[in-house]
């Protein structure tokens, strides 16, 4: 009998966030008859991560759960929280939990995601109120520290999406925010200079001090007040420091178990690792993208959800192929950024501005005549159109694309 039809089969999932939780529910939908066990070291009922730096930080709304508690019961998914998995034993097909318990599996899914990098800046260990931004607990700490602080001076190290979203939210909460970015521009690793300039201006207009070219070399702490010291000699006082300089993949468990690791856990087009009973999904994977014809590691909800669905289908012997165009969004103040595609390798950007609306435009990334990616500001139409063009590998008439008087309709923009 196929393993997925056997009531005695056990699927163990390490990590119960966007990837792991979606995998569990998809597995039931695909007809997995046996047990499904989710393990996560985070004690919270699994929640949406993107709101953490956005509405969850800036309002009292509370978390958005990925699924209600009853949903897990209804689909007979066993949710084991506050439990960390300490090793995988592939020969016995078991995992070991932090309390020493051994749990057998028939199929194992690694959905361990990533953790924030805390850079080895001298003094960072002893500084007061230094927080990353990845979990509900991190946000709880930040909110509490902010509430208690008189001066509410917040220094954010790192001008990436998470740093900028956090800046916007803390501004909304009445904090005084400085963003220190090491590179010559914010968002340097993820977008074109024009987009960096737009966000630079947006945050400046909203009263955030935006400082590129600031390499933090030390944090000094005197009487509970931090001084952040930069390589150029400048110093910034901070009651709270938020670190948003990127992530490191949680691939140690997989590595120790002898699975192949490259820039993340290496998986095939069905999300399977080099062990036929072990799959990996979400932020922790390094996988092949057929459309862009190369291996990628992504940090997005889209990738976590779509790869989870593929793995679930594969475990239930349906031979899917992961072939998705990546997409992502970011919300800051009342600006919505939507991105589709992968822009690496572009040699031309075109900017389409909509008539009379300064906060509505889109950047189109081309490699010669091939559209690679689109970043759309307050412009969902550009985003969906870009998605379609990339999927269909459409040949676009660039001068028409740039002409805002030509309607944003697929037929009107093609060669």
């Amino acid at each position: 009998m196929s393993v997925h039809l056997n009531k005695n089969s056990i699927c163990v999932v390490i990590g119960a966030s966007h990837a792991g939780v979606n995998l569990a529910f998809s597995l039931r939908k695909e007809g997995w008859q046996g047990a499904i066990l989710l393990f996560d070291k985070d004690p919270e009922i699994p929640y949406h991560r993107p709101p953490l730096s956005k509405t969850y930080l800036s309002s009292d709304e509370g978390t958005n759960l990925l699924k209600s508690v009853e949903s897990y019961e209804k689909d007979n998914i066993s949710l084991n929280l506050g439990i960390s998995v300490s090793s995988i034993n592939r020969t016995d097909k078991t995992i070991t939990l932090n309390d020493g318990t051994i749990q057998a599996y028939d199929k194992l899914v690694i959905a361990t995601g990533a953790r924030p990098i805390i850079p080895p800046i001298p003094g960072i260990e002893t500084a007061a109120h230094v927080y990353p931004m990845r979990t509900v607990e991190d946000v709880a700490h930040i909110r509490k520290a902010l509430h208690k602080s008189l001066n509410k001076r917040v220094v954010i190290i790192g001008g990436g999406y998470i740093g900028l979203e956090t800046a916007a939210s803390i501004k909304k909460l009445g904090g005084r925010v400085t963003v220190l970015e090491r590179e010559t521009r914010i968002l340097a690793r993820v977008t074109a200079p024009e987009m960096s300039n737009f966000f630079m201006q947006l945050h400046t207009e909203n009263g955030v001090e935006m400082l590129p070219n600031k390499n933090v070399i030390a944090i000094e702490n005197t009487k509970g007040v931090n001084t952040v010291v930069c390589a150029d000699g400048t110093q910034y006082e901070a009651d709270i420091i938020i670190v948003g300089v990127g992530i490191r993949v949680n691939s140690e468990l997989a590595k120790e178990a002898g699975l192949v690791i490259e820039n993340g856990i290496l998986v095939d087009e069905t999300a399977r690792t080099n062990d036929q009973n072990i799959y990996a999904i979400g932020d922790c994977t390094f996988h092949f993208n057929p459309h862009y014809n190369r291996h990628v590691r992504l940090e997005s909800v889209q990738n976590a959800v779509d790869q989870a669905k593929v793995a679930a289908a594969a475990i239930c012997e349906r031979h899917p192929i992961y072939d998705a165009i990546p997409w992502f969004w970011s919300d800051q103040y009342d600006v919505k950024l939507q991105m589709v595609g992968l822009y690496e390798g572009y040699n031309e950007t075109l900017i389409r501005k909509e008539d009379g609306e300064s906060n509505k435009f889109s950047i189109w990334y081309f490699k010669d005549d091939t559209l690679l990616a689109v970043d759309a500001i307050n412009n969902a139409k550009a985003y969906v159109l870009g998605t379609k063009f990339i999927k269909d590998a459409s040949k676009i008439d660039k001068s028409k694309l740039m002409d805002a008087s030509i309607p944003f309709k697929p037929g009107d923009l093609l060669i």
């Binding site: 949406h48 709101p51 958005n64 889209q302 139409k381």
Partner: protein
């Protein structure tokens, strides 16, 4: 309190009651098939697409610009389409019937 009826892609009828929050959240919390709400309700994923039944249109109001833009090239969109993360639950929508839209 609002009573909301969902008709799934398999023509199953699911009747739910809610007092606050979005219709998407109510559907996700109760496992309505076809309403995924992957982006958490910020109009970024379009996995909460429904058709408001004829006659209930006035109760839910018109789709906002971003909703229609997100559905611009969706083969299953029509003039009764909404992204239900953008419909807030209140007494005003009591009794509405929503059809979960098809997707590729």
């Amino acid at each position: 309190m609002a009573k909301i009826t969902f008709i799934t892609r398999d023509n199953e009828t699911i009747i739910l009651e809610g007092t606050s929050g979005s219709v998407m959240q109510l559907a996700v919390d109760n496992g309505v098939p076809g309403i995924d709400g992957d982006c958490g309700g910020v109009c970024s994923c379009a996995t909460c697409h429904v058709h408001v039944d004829v006659g209930h249109h006035l109760k839910t109001g018109e789709a906002t610009e971003i909703e229609t833009d997100m559905l611009e090239l969706n083969d299953y969109a029509n003039e009764r389409s909404r992204l239900c993360c953008q419909i807030q639950i209140s007494d005003a929508i009591d009794g509405i019937v929503l059809q979960v839209a098809e997707s590729d």
